[in-house]
């Protein structure tokens, strides 16, 4: 697609004429703006961009992007996106979804999308709550969380989207706080470049029903101390003073302080996002301190649509038929005179 690009876009080219109707202060605005900024940088023609969503606050997203789009039905965006991509692999397909949409009602499609590895980009808005239906616990809500449908506290253990995704063989998984527009724009561009299903989990604050659910990690004051933003090939160091890092102690990740107990920067684990074996990445996504953000996994593998195309080509080459009429007349036929 990059070769044929003959236009230069600005973010305005991807803003539709529709009034954006999320609650004031919602992180969704940040995601939308980051996406509109990222799209012109992707080297993709506007008419080749397709946004597909399910149901939920996040899923209004396609209406606000001036490209092709479909606001689908609850949980099914993954399957609709797959159909779009299989029908026309040249399209840049973006799936917009939420924790209820993809981890509850659409869980089945979600894991199979990741398993198949079509070149689709998925943005999962995780706010650990059902927003559009006004505040019920979701599959990512914490145990004990009080919501409209759990007034005495939630009793269902949560999914960790990253853990679930890697279990379903996700080749690309990234996580980011909803208040990091700069990194987000860059992440969307990286996801587009990645060949395969890329899953980006945005920790998205719901100002109305679950306000502050990620503040302990995302608040500007604590962000650097609580988050480890990983980059492939770089040591996993974090903290305001850049003095904390991760080492492997037996089968566990451990936080150490550089300069203490003889620990030097050379002892810190170097992040390998491109490793086929995802064992260490599984450990990273589950870590609570620090919370790991950035591209945790980015392993390129053969695409489902490539395998399909190759087989189609082979079958076409070996086929005896150039039209369906020839098929109908092939094999056992007989004449009635």
């Amino acid at each position: 697609m990059e070769d044929t690009l003959d236009k230069k876009y600005t973010f305005r080219d991807f803003a539709s004429d529709q009034e954006v109707r999320w609650c004031p202060g919602c992180d969704d605005y940040v995601i939308l703006r980051s996406m509109q900024k990222a799209l012109p940088e992707m080297g993709v023609n506007k008419e080749d961009v397709v946004f597909i969503s399910g149901i939920g606050c996040s899923s209004r997203f396609p209406y606000y992007i001036d490209s092709y789009g479909m606001h689908g039905i609850h949980g099914r965006a993954a399957a609709i996106s797959s159909g779009v991509k299989l029908a026309n692999p040249d399209l840049s397909v973006w799936m917009i979804t939420g924790d209820g949409d993809s981890l509850a009602i659409g869980g089945n499609h979600f894991i199979h999308l990741l398993r198949r590895n079509l070149d689709i980009n998925v943005v999962l808005f995780n706010n650990e709550i059902y927003g559009l239906t006004k505040g019920q616990f979701s599959p990512t809500s914490l145990i004990g969380q009080k919501t409209k449908s759990s007034p005495f506290g939630n009793t269902q253990p949560p999914f960790h989207p990253g853990e679930l995704a890697l279990g379903a063989q996700a080749r690309f998984f990234a996580r980011l706080g909803g208040n990091s527009p700069k990194e987000m724009t860059e992440l969307f561009i990286q996801a587009q470049k990645f060949r395969g299903t890329s899953l980006i989990e945005i920790l998205q604050n719901c100002v109305i029903f679950n306000d502050g659910c990620f503040t302990q990690y995302t608040d500007k004051k604590v962000k650097e101390d609580k988050q480890l933003f990983v980059e492939h090939g770089k040591p996993m160091i974090f903290g305001k003073e850049r003095d904390k890092g991760l080492v492997l102690n037996g089968l566990k990740l451990e936080v150490v302080t550089i300069g203490e107990n003889g620990v030097s920067e050379d002892d810190i684990l170097v992040h390998d996002a491109k490793c086929e074996d995802n064992t260490l990445q599984q450990m990273l996504v589950k870590l609570e301190y620090p919370l790991v953000t950035g591209i945790i996994r980015s392993y390129e593998d053969e695409l489902f649509e490539e395998r399909e195309a190759r087989l189609t080509e082979e079958v076409r080459k070996n086929s005896k038929f150039s039209s369906v009429d020839e098929l109908f007349l092939s094999g056992e036929t007989y004449e009635v005179k």
Binding site: S16, Q18, N45, K46, E47, D48, V50, I52, I55, P62, Y63, D66, S67, Y68, G69, M70, H71, G72, I73, R76, A78, A79, I80, S81, S82, G83, V84, K85, L86, A87, N88, D90, L91, N108, H109, H112, E308, L311, T312, V315, R316, S319, F321, S323, V324, D325, L327, F328, L329, G331, E332, T333, Y334, E335, V336, K337
Partner: protein, 621 residues
């Protein structure tokens, strides 16, 4: 050993117009293959044929059990054959269980061929026989041909060095060989079939050929079997034919439609009996650009198809009753976004899991109304194995031309049944004018409509300047943007209904066969065509003023429906359900007085029963 319990009255060669033969045995005995071979050979001989495979839901039910019996019925004739037939002229039973479960269908005085080797004490027990029916007089009203088929097969193959299992598995070919001789059939088609099938295992091809010939010559040398039947070729329309079953014909109808419309075909599907063979067929045809996607569930089957439709493919999904239930929300999305989509429902016995391998017509109301909101879709039905081709094509045409989902109903009976198909060419099929647009006009909106059909235009991703959003929320009638305006919702609801109603202008009128007016009109729809047609033919030839109107288009109904129904003193609606089309007709035509004939036994209508029922009504006046 051959025993002839009843002397056949006539030993001279009979010239029959039609016979019904049923092969029954264990589900692993190869009865479906035996029946298929006999069917194909007969069709090539020039007979008209109709078949009815009847097999258990279990893949390998316990050997010898009553519920593990698999059968294949074939009706061949020198006259037009519309059904696989009711009562049998010949029953081939490979084991006691097969005999027990099928004997009731054999006409008195007619022939049974049994494999005596299978009538062991153990097998008799499994078939719940207290004594051996070959010895206790159970069969004295029939002509029984007892053949030690297993031993004879073993004898024929003793020099090939095959294992015991492979030897006993080919005994079905012994039976087939015998039947070929009895009905004067040529073995060449089946011999060629072995060569093809066992290309890489020539010893098996040789073994099967040997057994087939052994059966053939055994029948020939046995004086006790008179070569009593000759089924002459039937007077069929001239042309090139092949045998197709309904599922293959359905798949091919879509191939033809895609080629005609210049689109690629996308199938999103999930395995379900008895629809899966459509998926099996379409996955073979990647060379025609077919994208057959086996999805993770029924919902992904239909929603992936909706995605493909949005992206510009001819998109279909195939399923059976329970799967249609799962797809209903998504069908609503397709009709709200006004995208073309064909949903094929190969009906089976319901509700719930019901009778997966048996036939029924009980999903009509689900197809008509089984969605939330005001959600009309086009509903059409195929009526014979070969016209599944035409109605699959028609479903695609209507969906593409009217930009709305079409549900195509077939059923297990016609999907698995086969008959001769006079091969059609894509160039002779009706044109398909898609609504695809490539250029933006100044006033363009995604929901701009054709003034005649009300179908919206189809702007496909990848087309510059036509970027737009669709979705399940209500749309503004002009801009296509989300709208909650009360008057707009009412208007759009009306437009979606009117759009489907106007399909009436694009479909043929309803016809009444045999008589245009008279005493009794037989009304049916879908897969019961053959049975109803046979019954009406019989009565019409006896001088009754009876007609047959068969619906292939159910939503919308053909324009002249009320007129056709009004031309008869009485109308009876016959369905394999509790009365679904009849309720559609009553709600459309002021609770018109309509009689009903309904069966829900998982089986097709019996022509004998139909004739009896119609005669009673006709003789009342």
């Amino acid at each position: 050993m051959t025993v002839n319990k009843m002397e056949p009255s006539a030993r001279e060669v009979e010239s029959l117009s039609a016979v019904v033969i049923r092969f029954v045995g264990d589900s692993g005995d190869g009865m479906q293959l035996t029946g298929t071979q006999f069917t194909d050979t007969s069709a090539m001989f020039g007979n008209d044929v109709a078949t009815f495979p009847n097999y258990p839901a279990e893949i390998r039910a316990p050997q010898g059990s009553l519920y593990g019996v698999s059968g294949f019925q074939v009706h061949i004739g020198s006259i037009e054959i519309s059904t696989p037939g009711d009562d049998l002229d010949l029953l081939v039973a490979m084991n006691p269980a097969g005999l027990k479960t099928n004997l009731h269908a054999l006409k008195a005085g007619h022939t049974i061929i049994v494999d005596t080797d299978s009538f062991s004490k153990k097998n008799l027990q499994k078939a719940e026989y207290d004594s051996n029916p070959l010895e206790d007089g159970t069969l004295e009203n029939y002509r029984v041909i007892e053949v030690a088929m297993t031993s004879l097969t073993r004898e024929a193959l003793k020099d090939l060095g095959l294992d015991n299992k492979s030897i006993t598995r080919s005994k079905n070919m012994f039976a087939l060989g015998m039947v070929y001789w009895m009905y004067d059939r040529d073995m060449n088609h089946t011999l060629r079939f072995f060569e093809q099938k066992f290309k890489y295992k020539p010893v098996l091809a040789e073994a099967n050929a040997k057994v087939l010939k052994a059966g053939f010559y055994y029948a020939e040398t046995l004086e006790l079997i008179p070569n009593a039947y000759q089924i002459l070729p039937s007077a069929m329309e001239k042309g090139t034919y092949r045998i197709v079953n309904g599922n293959t014909a359905t798949a091919w109808g879509f191939l033809a439609a895609a080629e005609k419309a210049g689109l690629e075909l996308f199938l999103g599907s999930y395995p379900i009996t008895p629809a899966t063979d459509i998926l099996h067929e379409l996955v073979k045809h990647k060379n025609f650009g077919v994208k057959a996607f086996q999805a993770e569930d029924e919902i992904a089957g239909v929603t992936s198809a909706i995605g493909a439709s949005f992206a510009g493919d001819l998109a279909i999904t195939t399923t059976s009753g329970p799967g249609l239930a799962l797809k209903s929300e998504a069908i609503g999305l397709a009709l709200m976004t006004e995208l073309p989509l064909v949903i094929v429902n190969v009906q089976r016995g319901g509700p719930s899991t019901g009778l997966p391998t048996k036939t029924e017509q009980s999903d009509l109301l689900q197809a008509m109304y089984g969605r939330n909101g005001e959600s009309p879709v086009i509903v059409i039905a195929a009526s014979t194995p070969s016209d599944c081709f035409d109605y699959a094509y028609e479903a695609a045409r209507l969906s593409l031309e009217h930009m709305t989902p079409v549900i195509l109903l077939t059923d297990g009976y016609i999907a698995n049944g086969s008959e001769p198909w006079k091969i059609k060419s894509v160039k002779d099929m009706a044109d398909i004018k898609t609504r695809v647009i490539n250029k933006r006009s100044d006033s363009w909106h995604p929901y701009d409509r054709d003034s005649q059909t009300l179908a919206r235009n189809w702007a496909v991703p990848g087309t510059p300047g036509l970027e737009h959003r669709v979705g399940g929320l209500e749309k503004d009638q002009v801009t296509g943007n989300v709208s909650y305006v009360p008057e707009n919702h009412e208007y759009m609801t009306h437009v979606r209904a009117e759009k489907v109603k106007r399909v009436q202008n694009n479909i043929p009128e309803l016809e009444s066969e045999y008589n245009k007016e008279g005493d009794l009109l037989i009304v049916g729809w879908g897969g019961t065509y053959g049975s109803l047609h046979s019954a009406v033919r019989k009565l019409a030839s006896q001088g009754y003023k009876i007609g047959h109107a068969h619906f292939n288009y159910i939503n919308p109904l053909p324009r002249n429906t009320e007129e056709v129904l009004g031309n008869f003193k009485k109308v009876i609606v016959c369905e394999l359900n509790k009365g679904q089309l009849v309720s559609v007709l009553r709600s459309n035509f002021n609770d018109k007085d309509l009689l009903q004939y309904n069966k829900v036994m998982g089986l097709p209508f019996s022509v004998t029963d139909l004739v009896k029922k119609f005669k009673i009504i006709l003789d009342q006046d």
